[in-house]
Amino acid sequence: MKRKKTFPYVVLTLTSIFLLIPFIATLVYSFTVGWTKLLPAGWTLKYWGQAFTEPNLWPAILRGVLISIPPILICNVVVILALYTSVVYYPKLEKYIQAICMVPNSLKGVIIAIPVLALYAGTPTIFSNRMVMLVCIYSISILPFVYQGIRNNLHGINVTQLLEAAEILGAGKLYAFVRIVLPSMLSGILVSSLLALSTVFGDFAIIKIIAGNKFETVQMLLYNSRVIVLQYQCVIVIIMFTATLVISQAVFKFQNKKRG
């Protein structure tokens, strides 16, 4: 009996150590003057100061947030329109919508960005604009999250019955949708939008391929800082990680609230 219980603890302790080492090392290293012996040579806050006074850091973070807003809006609108109709009127079409929305789960990053770049770059269409391209590709790559969130929500609130009830009470279709269905979907939309935000924030492949240095997000800032001292990069890594952590904590909170 005792042997049975020790095994999980050993596995999980080793896993936790393995998973935490890179993270803790990065955090500690960002405070060191240098670390060439068994222990660090000394401690400093210099690199943290340097990062926070770096004129490019905050604009880069802001750019990351800004570029994620249009795709989140586009994707939510497009998915809500398609899914709402299919759930209410055409349940049979739902599996096709799912199939389309799940494509970016496997075709992601490089293989979503490269074909789009190859097709539209240099053409006279509006899609040759790198910002438009970026927004459209992000709209595609967040499809699975947005789809999942909205689907769960639509099924969770039992939309058909809600509509019937609204109709019996004399509400029109549009009124029922805007005043009843949409508000009850808000928390779901928020959760999937936050997940989408963290995807866009964590993306490097697409931004590097499509925008290069023309649109410096934190990921690009980190990439371009690869020649500066390592401590400085550590600070940026920690800042980025903290930002993602805040987002995922928010998601967690909203999801639990919904359940409770």
Binding site: K4, K5, F7, P8, Y9, V11, L12, L19, L20, I21, P22, F23, A25, T26, Y29, W35, T36, K37, L38, V77, V79, L81, A82, T85, S86, Y89, Y90, L93, I100, C101, P104, N105, S106, L107, G109, V110, I111, I112, I114, P115, L117, A118, L119, Y120, I137, I140, G202, F204, A205, K208, I209, L222, Y223, R226, L230, Q233, F241, L245, S248, F252
Partner: protein, 295 residues
């Protein structure tokens, strides 16, 4: 007159149907313009001769014969398959262990896994440079006490890539497998125990077969994740170990003139590999499911 009312309702429904179909259009347009058209055009380009633009199969032949492309394919396949298999086995053990814990312990380890699953790409690369790079703290600390880590492990090599890939596979794999373990009823274990089946026998005969669909799904997801990984590998081994995503990208965005045709061929080739693995997993799942219900 219930019949007339029904006809009326039916008419109203068809009217709704036509009126409402437009709501599907934006999604279709978005997907067509940014998934299907680009990939179709890429397929077309992959069959075109550079410069002349006539139809050819030579590009595909080049992928299998030219060592530059063959090595990239082999590296990508080796790295993705091995890291997926290692990741899956370890994730299985981790998810099993999580399932054995109490609720409090489960919550703690799950939030750790959730947190670490965000840690990928460039940040992950820099963290590994901090601990295991040429001047990494482990490397130098070990040197200070007289151990040369470089003789057994180098970050800037296939080993380093493998370690980082397994690192980002673990949280994803375990998070996907935890629900599968929860689906295994304690009553089955008790029943197996009553029939004097050993723990090992329970897992090989009941547990793993029941979980096989989840294991196959996880395998496909981890593989797709590994073969498309770009940020993690870009700075680590761009020139010494060619890999498909980096190779493809440089053929379109590099400083040299873009090689559209060969680049397209290589990109389609990578998509084919990935789809083959995903479809293979799905097919296997179907076959096993049928076999299981038939016997």
């Amino acid at each position: 007159m219930p019949g007339l009312a029904a006809i009326g309702r039916h008419r109203m429904k068809t009217k709704y149907k036509i009126k409402n179909l437009w709501t599907m259009v934006p999604l279709l347009i978005l997907a067509a313009l940014f998934i299907f058209l680009p990939i179709l055009s890429m397929i077309k380009q992959s069959f075109m001769m550079p410069e002349t633009g006539t139809f050819t199969l030579n590009n595909y032949k080049t992928i299998f014969t030219d060592s530059v492309y063959r090595v990239a394919t082999e590296n990508s396949l080796y790295l993705s398959f091995l890291s997926t298999i290692i990741g899956l086995i370890l994730s299985f053990l981790i998810a099993y262990s999580i399932n054995e814990l109490g609720q409090k312990g489960q919550g703690r380890i799950l939030s750790l896994l959730n947190m670490v699953s965000n840690f990928a790409g460039l940040p992950l690369y820099f963290s590994f440079v901090v601990i295991l790079g040429n001047t990494g703290i482990f490397v130098l600390a070990l040197k200070a006490i007289g151990i040369e880590l470089a003789t057994v492990f180098k970050l800037y090599s296939m080993q380093g890539l493998m370690l980082m890939f397994v690192y980002f596979q673990l949280p994803l794999g375990s998070l996907m497998l935890v629900p599968a373990f929860q689906a295994i009823q304690p009553a089955w274990k008790e029943a197996a125990e009553l029939m004097e089946a050993s723990t090992f026998k329970f897992w090989t005969k009941i547990g793993i077969p029941v979980m096989l669909p989840s294991l196959l799904d996880t395998f496909a997801l981890l593989f797709a994740n590994a073969i498309t990984a770009y940020a993690t590998v870009l700075l680590l081994v761009t020139t010494s170990i060619p890999l498909l995503p980096v190779k493809i990208t440089t053929m379109f965005t590099g400083e040299m003139t873009p090689q559209r045709e060969m680049g397209s061929t290589l990109a389609i080739w990578m998509i084919v590999i990935m789809l083959a693995v995903i479809c293979g997993c799905n097919l296997l799942k179907k076959l096993l499911y049928k076999g299981g219900s038939g016997s």
